[in-house]
Amino acid sequence: MWLEWTIATKFLREGRTQTALIMVGIAVGVSVIVFLSALIDGLQDNIIERTLGTQAHIKVEAPDEVNQVVPLAGGTMQLVLEDKRAQRLRSINNWQQVRDTLDALPEVTAVSPLISGPAFARRGSTLESVALMGIDEVRYQKIIPIRNDMVAGQFRVGAGDAVIGSRLAWDLGLRVGDKLRLDAGQGGDSVVNVAGIFELGVRELDSRYVYLDMKQAQSLLGLPGAATVIDVTVKDIFAADTVAQRITRLTGQKAESWMQTNGQLMNALKSQSLSTRMISLFVAVSVAFGIASVLSVSVVQRTREIGILRAMGATRAQMLRVFLLQGALFGLAGSVVGGTAGYGLVWLFNAFGPRLFQIPVSPLLLLAATILATVTGVISAAIPARRAARLDPVVAIRHV
């Protein structure tokens, strides 16, 4: 390889202008790919982080209630006018057992059973509809670390204490230590003490959630001993789908992953990733054509020199490698320059951009870009390199 390396680098150095121009082209392409990928990755991580900051990765609920239709004898036909059943609030059967099963799954990091149902919150003559959340405080904190989002008081439920969202507190004019009357319709009705106020930054939650002790919520909702939902978090958020399916199989309950609940979001993220990948692909393809055309021109320009080298004892394989190596060097050097430039762009974005989020740049992305560009360089060089290898030395030497 020594000779190939020597010839390749000398050829590149001799064709300085060509080399510099194509290098700039490759560098621009690579920096666009690096910056765009980093930007989109950062953006998506940020969106997912925000979304999952306030919800469980998987929600396990009792299966939907459906009408039982008597199976028909063969050959008969039946017209059914079916009244769909209302999905009343009901407990997961044997939820303690389900909870223990989930606890034992290796992919699962936290499990939190809770009872959740609708109610009215009243203060004086003001009425607000709220969602009662009867939780096991310790377990729930592992799903949503709400303790970090308190704006007043403390996160403390049980013994008549409740924690409410900041918008609800505003709507009802409540402060820590104030009393609040909760009415769940089923005859349950009690007065709780506001122990703390949280703000998650999601309007729906801040204006509706009322956290209570599980026992108190059960009695308010008229479902003693019940849990209507089990919240679950998993290690790999993108495996939530498969884990949810597994949970359904294992427990017979309905399990919905965050990906299903946020179908819209997932779609948006997927199309975003797809378009990023398409842009990267097309940039890479045009860079590849750039390398191929520069090397093709170079083979024509150097036809006579290739002929002389062959007459001096260089083999076809050596000539092939000389040009493949030039392609690889284009890719490698271009991607090092382009990767650095892309890194610079990310840094500028983080330092002077809109500052909505930070783009992290993983060294892995740079490494991948470098390897990919080098491989692309070799592939693009394949056609010109074959042309060079196939040149007939006699014809090549006569070439002027």
Binding site: M1, W2, L3, T6, I7, K10, F11, R13, E14, R304, E305, I308, L309, R310, A311, M312, G313, A314, T315, R316, A317, Q318, D392, P393, V394, I397
Partner: protein, 240 residues
């Protein structure tokens, strides 16, 4: 020094056609028989288009013959693959072309080393010494680090001769090596061939249109329309 009668090259009924299988097929060499011995210093002359370059390229294993047999150092070369042809050519043959064909990206010394680098990679210390000695022999030791375009035509041709000799070939082929040099420079370059023929005992086959040069050779082959029509020894042996 080896025995003078030792055979370097033998051609038997050698034929060469271009564009084989096409309507434009044309036979350029019509059956050449030829023997070259070590120490032979031979001129190849003939009208333009008679097939001199073609014959040289075939002998130099750059172009395979269409028929006949070519023995190089006693080895038959029919049906050799590219790699072994390249290896045999690299070891046995040195080439000098009309247009001093040096490679611009390399210095004069690196050009001289090229056949060795092609065969075995990075040159060793003693290879570089050999190349420098050859550069000194052609009178260019001071210009070893220059690029070809910083040398005159005659100087470039001397570098090409040094390059052809670096592998100590048994046969040196030269296709109009003095074709675009003035007559004084041409005489200098010719003298170099003479000197290396004596010093290294390599056979020289030299194409030229210059009758003064061909007269100074030991033997003159005349090619006409793809056949050797005369093979004459020089009037007085230049070797004595």
């Amino acid at each position: 020094m080896s025995e003078p009668s030792q055979e370097v090259l033998r051609l038997q009924g050698l034929r060469k056609s271009y564009n084989v299988g096409m309507p434009t097929e044309v036979e350029v060499l019509h059956g050449i028989d030829l023997r070259l011995a070590r120490n032979d210093f031979t001129a190849l002359v003939g009208a333009s288009g008679s097939g001199k370059s073609t014959l040289l390229n075939v002998i130099g294993l750059l172009d395979p013959p269409t028929a006949g047999e070519l023995y190089l150092l006693g080895e038959p070369t029919r049906g050799m693959d590219d790699a072994s042809r390249t290896a045999l050519r690299g070891g046995a043959i040195g080439f000098v072309f009309q247009f001093h064909h040096l490679i611009q990206a390399f210095t004069a010394l690196e050009n001289v080393l090229m056949p060795l680098m092609a065969a075995r990679g990075k040159p060793r210390r003693e290879d570089i010494d050999t190349a420098q000695a050859l550069m000194a022999e052609v009178g260019l030791d001071k210009l070893a680090d220059r690029k070809p375009d910083q040398l005159s035509g005659g100087q470039q041709q001397r570098v090409a001769i040094a390059r052809a000799l670096i592998t100590r070939p048994a046969l040196l082929l030269a296709d109009e090596p003095t074709g675009n040099l003035d007559s004084r420079t041409a005489a200098d370059v010719f003298a170099l061939f003479r000197r290396f023929n004596r010093k290294f005992g390599c056979a020289v086959l030299l194409v030229t249109h210059d009758s003064r040069l061909s007269d100074a050779c030991d033997r003159t082959l005349t090619l006409a329309d793809g056949l050797i029509v005369s093979d004459q020894a020089a009037r007085q042996s230049a070797g004595s």
